[in-house]
Symmetry: C2
Subunit: 372 residues, 2 copies
Amino acid sequence: MQKKVYLCTLICFYMSRTEISTMGEFGLIKRLTKDIKPVQPSTQKAAGDDCAVMNFGKTKNLKSPRVLMTTDMLLEGVHFNLEYVPLKHLGYKAAVVNFSDIYAMNGTPTQITVGLGISKRFSVEEIEELYSGIRLACERYGVDLVGGDTCASMTGLTISITCLGVADEKDIVYRNGAKLNDLICVSGNLGTAYMGLQLLERELMVQRSTNYGNNPSTGETEGTSAFEGKEYLLERQLKPEARRDILEALRKAGVKPTAMMDISDGLSSELMHICSQSNVGCCIYEDKLPIDYQAAALAEEMNLNIVTCALNGGEDYELLFTCSLDDYEKLIPVEDLYIIGHITKPEYGCNLIGRNGEELALKAQGWNAFEN
Amino acid sequence: MQKKVYLCTLICFYMSRTEISTMGEFGLIKRLTKDIKPVQPSTQKAAGDDCAVMNFGKTKNLKSPRVLMTTDMLLEGVHFNLEYVPLKHLGYKAAVVNFSDIYAMNGTPTQITVGLGISKRFSVEEIEELYSGIRLACERYGVDLVGGDTCASMTGLTISITCLGVADEKDIVYRNGAKLNDLICVSGNLGTAYMGLQLLERELMVQRSTNYGNNPSTGETEGTSAFEGKEYLLERQLKPEARRDILEALRKAGVKPTAMMDISDGLSSELMHICSQSNVGCCIYEDKLPIDYQAAALAEEMNLNIVTCALNGGEDYELLFTCSLDDYEKLIPVEDLYIIGHITKPEYGCNLIGRNGEELALKAQGWNAFEN
């Protein structure tokens, strides 16, 4: 059976190669942005001028429209490794993580601008691959690509995306609204994206040692069966989705969260942000943490503690929110949503209750990239 | 007489050094953004949540408010050289070039987000220097810093700024509105920033050869007198300003440009953009090009053609616009503004009339960074 090859340095062998220098910056931008058709009524003028122009008076159904803005930077060698991240997936993810921030305020993403720093080792076709991922994400989430900046980089690939969104004033959910006795909820599952990363890193090591001394350009794909039965982990790492569906379900259920964030740095770190900004404490339960069985199995295999991964893994892009205890009944029918604990008095601190009833203080062990 | 030392690798000797790893990403962001007070009525919530929140209904005096958005990425080794660009100046410039894009649509910049990729070789104090430049620019232009993303870089310094602005629908000036017989105007002077860059590059070479074999950490500043009488050139390169004053003067004079851009890639390139998007041709006159005498003198000294520099130098951040011939009388009293030619039929193309009456087709010789 032919498995999908995720270790994607091979992709380039199937692509034709046009040097970026043959078309220059303006030619490249023209090619990347041609036939982009805005779908948001608020987009008045997209690429092609000094600025994009938006008319947020055109956002129907919003009595007091507010504009949301967020930005994320992805750097090669820090946030992604092109040895195993396909460019299209990378583009998709770079866009989606920004949408996720807008949803985390209970808003709707509407426009993005894309800044790219590209070194000469990339061909026009490869940058088109990257862009096709960004555009696919935009299509799926109904977001317009309205501008950007594309320039040469002397070093690695740099992607900087800024996203605008809209929300009615009364719908916006901040981080600082958690109240005593509120329920703490998360969507999906935790630690899965991190386990996907571990899997890819392990496989990369295997490939490197296999290729050592061989000619790596033969395009052989041995070893990729190591991904069999673990496709979901890869998907969570390589192609995360923003949980628009959860917000829609909450709206339908008539629940408005009191505080909300998306989980990019890990549950512990995000929960501590909500607690410190809301001036409350929290208590979550180890046995309530939603953990995927594939992730748990791989953690076992790799001798990792899956609870630690779930607490500190990061990149899940699931929603973490608090809501009133009165909404408990309304939450039950919402699919893929888990109540993991409750809000306490600030002096109680942020704690995890283990399976045997032991209490552990949460720590923001979120990755400090400046440390190593 | 003590001269200001622009070759600024020396700065670090006067600064204390705190490693970024000692405070982590969140600590750093907290330190950089503390006591930022929004001044724009449209800024509802700045840093500290998943997104910034803006209320553009609060922009007084605008009947049909539109939101403008632009983004610029600056990469070390491509857009700046830290051997001679002080970090504070770099921050200032990174912000101002974005404001310039908003002004080029006849809008007012209101908010920015700042994405930074920083390697370990920078200290907290150095990043504060960079940020102090960004914040100074924001203060001067009345713009709020509402968010950002700060992350570790494995390579050089990366700065990505996205700027929002507002304008009334009827005031926005696009690139595509130039009409037959319109006047072509530029503010300030051209090629000066480019000559400033040449001066800095030349001095860097001198310093390098002087320091060769010596201990470069002695902090000696010999050679800096090479900048005497040329301070204006350095200022234009290191600390450009956006021409808000010109737009105010035009408003006062009752002139609305028909098409407008800011000059970042060079007059030729920008003028060809306006002409192609407006489907017109143009004719400009060599003897009308505003050229600073310091720039002309240095070009002479360095054996460069100052007209070529003025046409293709880039980074001037002056305004280039077209306006109706009927506005001619109103333009005369506007200071620091120069009429350099007029719009022609498209079949005429884009041409420069030389001092001896010879006609030359304009070429967009703007820097193609992907070429070398």
